[in-house]
């Protein structure tokens, strides 16, 4: 059920010339016979197009820094941005032995609520006063301040307000100039957040690694629906110590001590690859791209990690855990797999999930025939080898790359971090590629489509042409697909289910997908009095 070029041409026909010329570069019909198929990504959204994209603020506050559970995050701006990003991304957080419940601010929303006079005369005083009151009332260990669109325009100096507040109260106050107009999507906000966390937080802790521990960080995992808890469960069972998760259920102190890890794992490449790379440059800690979405993907990720440790005990324990988990979940999943197998799907999400979920869907016998990211870069599609060839433009240049140099005290060669001899390390590097992500492309079959920043019109037309069995996207597109008769699941919020990661997640996902496909209501759409008439259609 692949789409041919004529149909694609016909779909793009109603576009004005300029739009067509632009959009055609964002659509790739995968053909593995061809070499170096290139997709355009991370460029401006066309004005007037109903895009799925959000803004830099959403990427910075909403995605990366908002989930840090024991930081009060103050949104500096009018009421909306902070309000919409309050409790809507399902980053779960809980108290533990280091973070008591009274230091968890995840269910709270702090906004300076700028009014007209603040726009005219500046909002710095208001922000400073709000920080003072918040410190007095809540005594947070640290504070984030996130900017919204007007801040950069009126010239409020967030850095100065943060610095003064930090001195007044003796706690870290971090500011992020993540105004919504920066960059072309959420992606700019990820980068801004990565820079500040790297510059100000990571490495500032005094934690030390216990000699018998093998310490791992999971970067780019936001604990949506409890995903990170499931991943940590498995890693703990194997015997690893998870120091920190960026940023799902994380605390400020955990992030301060990320630098004590032996190895960084990267889950969402798009939102966190900057920190992975910068930690490698500064501390020498190697990173490994993993994917815990899907049974086979989880198994491969666990085996890759074990291989990288070069530790026989981890390798053995990994196989034991895999065998135990599979024996438990494969029979449970079978009933759902029978329903799902042979079905096709579209996936339009984020900057990693449209790839990650292809693995889980494959486990269930499903194929993703059209996939795209909202805010990814070319490397998320084509692999990191293209990074040197990506041209910077006016939009991407505005987010600076930090100048990172090796830490004089803490930098060590990768093999030292991994407790390996140089020879053993080199041997392992031949088997597992560290510091690399191959992108979505190798996992897409020839004839299927990769679409960057897919918009409402393209999605609608492709659904009409290809009639997929399932549509995976965000809440804004879910009901459009369903009105067209296609069951749809939210892959940002999991339709409020989860976890979907790891072994337990695979069962949850399989059950939810099977339910979406089989819910009896799909058979009741046509009223009995319209059956057999021209207007009546029976989906079933």
């Amino acid at each position: 059920m692949a789409i041919n070029n004529e149909v694609l041409e016909e779909i793009l026909l109603p576009y004005p010339d300029k739009v067509k010329k632009n959009r055609i570069k964002h659509i790739v019909r995968v053909n593995h016979e061809e070499s170096c198929q290139q997709i355009e990504a991370n460029t401006r959204t066309i004005p007037g197009i109903i895009s799925q994209r959000g803004c830099a603020y959403a990427g910075c506050k909403g995605v990366v820094v908002g989930p840090i559970k024991n930081m009060v995050t103050i949104t500096h701006g009018p009421v909306g941005c902070g309000y919409y990003s309050w409790g809507t991304r399902r980053n779960k957080a809980r108290a533990d032995d280091k973070t008591p419940p009274e230091k968890i601010y995840s269910a709270m929303c702090f906004i300076t609520d700028m009014q007209e006079p603040d726009i005219v005369f500046g909002g710095e005083k208001k922000l400073a006063k709000m920080i003072d009151e918040v410190v007095e009332m809540f005594h947070p260990p640290a504070i984030n301040i996130c900017a919204t669109c007007p801040i950069g325009l009126i010239g409020d100096d967030l850095g100065a307000v943060a610095k003064a507040a930090s001195e007044r109260h003796g706690i870290p106050v971090l500011s992020y100039n993540c105004e919504g107009y920066k960059g072309v999507s959420q992606s700019a906000g990820h980068h801004i957040a990565n820079n500040i966390l790297m510059e100000r937080v990571i490495g500032s802790g005094d934690g030390v690694k216990k000699p018998d521990e093998y310490v791992i960080n999971i970067l780019g995992e936001y604990n949506i629906g409890g995903d990170s808890w499931e991943i940590e469960r498995i890693l703990h069972d194997i015997g690893y110590t998870v120091q920190g998760v960026l940023t799902g259920d994380s605390s400020y102190e955990e992030i301060q001590n990320l630098h004590i890890a032996n190895l960084n794992l990267v889950m969402c490449h798009r939102s966190i690859n900057y920190i992975a790379e910068m930690m490698e440059e500064k501390y020498g800690i190697p990173w490994l791209k993993i994917n815990f979405i899907g049974i086979e993907a989880t198994k491969k990720s666990l085996r890759d990690i074990a291989l990288v440790t070069g530790n026989e005990s981890f390798i053995r324990k990994t196989e034991e855990v895999i065998a135990r988990e599979e024996a438990r979940i494969l029979p449970a999943i079978e009933q759902y797999r029978k329903i799902c197998t042979g079905k096709t799907a579209f996936a339009f999400v984020g900057g990693s999930r449209s790839h990650h979920y292809q693995h889980l869907l494959k486990d269930l016998g499903m194929e993703v025939v059209v996939a795209g990211y909202e805010f990814a870069h070319r490397d998320d599609y084509e692999g990191r080898q293209v990074i040197p060839t990506i041209k910077t433009d006016a939009d991407s240049k505005n987010i600076p790359d930090l100048d990172i140099t090796p830490d004089p005290e803490l930098y060590q060669e990768a093999h030292v971090h991994l407790n390996l001899s140089k020879e053993k390390y080199d041997e392992i590097c031949n088997k597992v590629q560290l510091g690399y992500y191959e992108g979505m492309y190798p996992d897409m079959h020839s004839g299927n489509l990769m679409i960057d920043d897919c918009n409402h019109y393209e999605a609608e037309r492709l659904v009409q042409e290809l009639k997929p069995d399932l549509f995976f996207a965000g809440v804004r597109d879910k009901y459009i697909a369903q009105k067209m008769g296609i069951p749809a699941k939210q892959l940002h919020s999991y339709d409020y289910s989860g976890p979907y990661a790891g072994f337990n997640g695979a069962i949850n996902f399989a059950r939810d997908v099977a339910h979406a496909l089989t819910t009896p209501a799909w058979k009741f759409i046509t009223p009995p009095w319209e059956k057999g008439t021209q207007t009546g259609e029976n989906h079933a």
């Binding site: 109903i50 009421v79 726009i119 019109y457 009105k483």
Partner: protein, 455 residues
């Protein structure tokens, strides 16, 4: 839950903690969805449009389509004129709406884009329309944005182009659910009065599943109907915060008199609504409505002991909270705390007058408040029931107080947008929800020997 919240008293004088309002553009987008064949357009960076669409979709669980000017840093520095002109061209070519309803954002307002001029310079196909409203997020709330958009619909489109006024009424329903608009329409139809509802999101945000997708659903006030509002004999502005501005504009522009009423939530507000139609259109109230009303009074008398004397905290949008407080008082309950996030001294004045009338003292009433404040009050003196939006659920859990979900938004329960709280049927639904919730709590807390079959 919310262990971080201090026991108080605290000094919270600036900014909002757990706000009870959101920004203007969301309301403007919702209003614009109530025009048939309309694509709402957000003139700002695309994140605003994304957030508003998500938020509305979560409440209505139905498609919300809107486009954005997708500002980048360049547009923010040099102005958004080029982005808006390109948007208008692309929208008409690709999405072919009858009308584009543009609202601004804090970004385009701060840089001062002159929308009327930009629209004038844009290519607009023959027979198509582009309207706009200014919705700076740093003033008012989502209710202000709704009000501004409805006012702009009138100022752009309404015309007094008939020699005499038609025997029809303009109903401005305000920011309520399509289920409420449907119920208000049913009451007006039952009274036999011809009407134009503006805006009207029925069959847009409560559209049925048919497997036949359309970009512009069947519902919504048509452009012709909006034009014709200028020829109506009377406007009923339901809810002063959301509807009065458009009503005033209809008077000013088209000489249509306007009566401002409460949103018809509760017995008295519904009575007032029906009486206004009866008196101005000389119609008889049909027996069916008299029966419905009688059923409400019968129920209130029958089960007053389920709720009378209970203390309640009410929060949400002003046009809903004001008549809801009025009804709760009629039920014999005590509105201990009444709060809206939307600014406006009129809110406090109206509620305080009601409390005075029922001789209730010691209540706190506040406009432009937030839910952190409400939580602080509750910590000082608790209530038996919370009546408001989904955002009350954290306080409900932290303080173990039951919550009845009413208003906008309700993000964690379904079916609400389809079920009215307006009219007499809405009264019954409110009584049922309040009474059942309190009884569930009584059953939950009862010891075995106090757990009874009949209540």
């Amino acid at each position: 839950m919310l262990e971080c919240v201090p026991e108080g008293p605290v000094e919270h004088t600036i900014g909002k903690i757990n706000p009870a309002k959101t920004c203007q553009p969301l309301g403007a987008m919702y209003a614009a969805l109530g025009i048939h064949g309309c694509l709402p357009h957000s003139h700002g960076s695309q994140g605003c449009c994304a957030y508003h669409r998500m938020h509305l979709t979560r409440h209505f669980r139905d498609q919300v389509l809107a486009s954005s000017s997708s500002f980048t840093e360049g547009a923010s520095v040099f102005g958004g004129a080029a982005n808006l002109k390109t948007s208008i061209k692309n929208i008409f070519e690709i999405y072919n709406p009858e009308i584009i309803a543009i609202h601004t954002t804090c970004l385009s307002e701060t840089i001062g884009d002159d929308l009327p001029t930009i629209i004038k310079q844009s290519e607009i196909p023959e027979g198509k329309r582009v309207i706009h409203t200014n919705t700076p997020s740093y003033y008012g709330s989502h209710i202000t944005g709704f009000s501004n958009m409805v006012k702009s619909m009138v100022s752009y489109l309404a015309e007094a182009n008939e020699p005499v006024k038609k025997n029809q009424v303009n109903i401005l329903p305000g920011f309520v659910n399509p289920g409420d608009m449907r119920e208000i329409r049913r009451i007006v139809n039952d009274l036999g009065v011809s009407m134009i509802m503006l805006p009207d999101t029925t069959n847009v945000l409560d559209a049925p599943q048919t497997n036949r997708y359309v970009l512009y659903p069947e519902g919504g006030t048509t452009v012709d109907e909006i034009i014709d509002t200028g020829n109506s004999k009377l406007t009923l502005a339901l809810g002063s915060f959301a509807s009065e501005a458009a009503g005033a504009m209809l008077l000013e522009k088209c000489n249509v008199p306007c009566i401002s009423l409460h949103t018809p939530i509760g017995l008295k507000a519904t009575d007032d609504f029906i009486m206004a139609l009866k008196e101005n259109f000389g119609v008889d109230v049909p027996k069916s409505l008299t029966i419905e009303r009688g059923q409400v009074v019968d129920t209130l008398i029958d089960i007053h002991f389920h709720y009378q004397g209970k203390k309640v905290a009410i929060f949400g949008d002003p046009d809903i909270v004001i008549p809801l407080t009025e009804f709760v008082l009629a039920m014999g309950m005590i509105p201990k705390y009444v709060l809206t996030g939307t600014p406006g001294s009129r809110f406090e004045k109206e509620i305080n007058e009601m409390l005075e009338q029922y001789q209730i003292e010691g209540s706190i009433v506040k406009a432009e408040g937030d839910l952190f404040e409400l939580h602080q009050w509750i910590k000082q003196e608790p209530v038996d029931l919370l009546l408001g939006t989904t955002y009350g659920k954290y306080i409900a859990r932290a303080e173990d107080i039951p919550l009845v979900r009413v208003g906008f938004p309700i993000l964690d329960r379904a079916v609400h947008p389809l079920m009215p709280i307006t009219g007499y049927r809405g009264c019954l639904r409110l009584i049922e929800m309040i009474s059942n919730t309190l009884l569930e709590r009584r059953d939950r807390d009862a010891t075995d020997e106090d757990y009874e079959l009949v209540l």
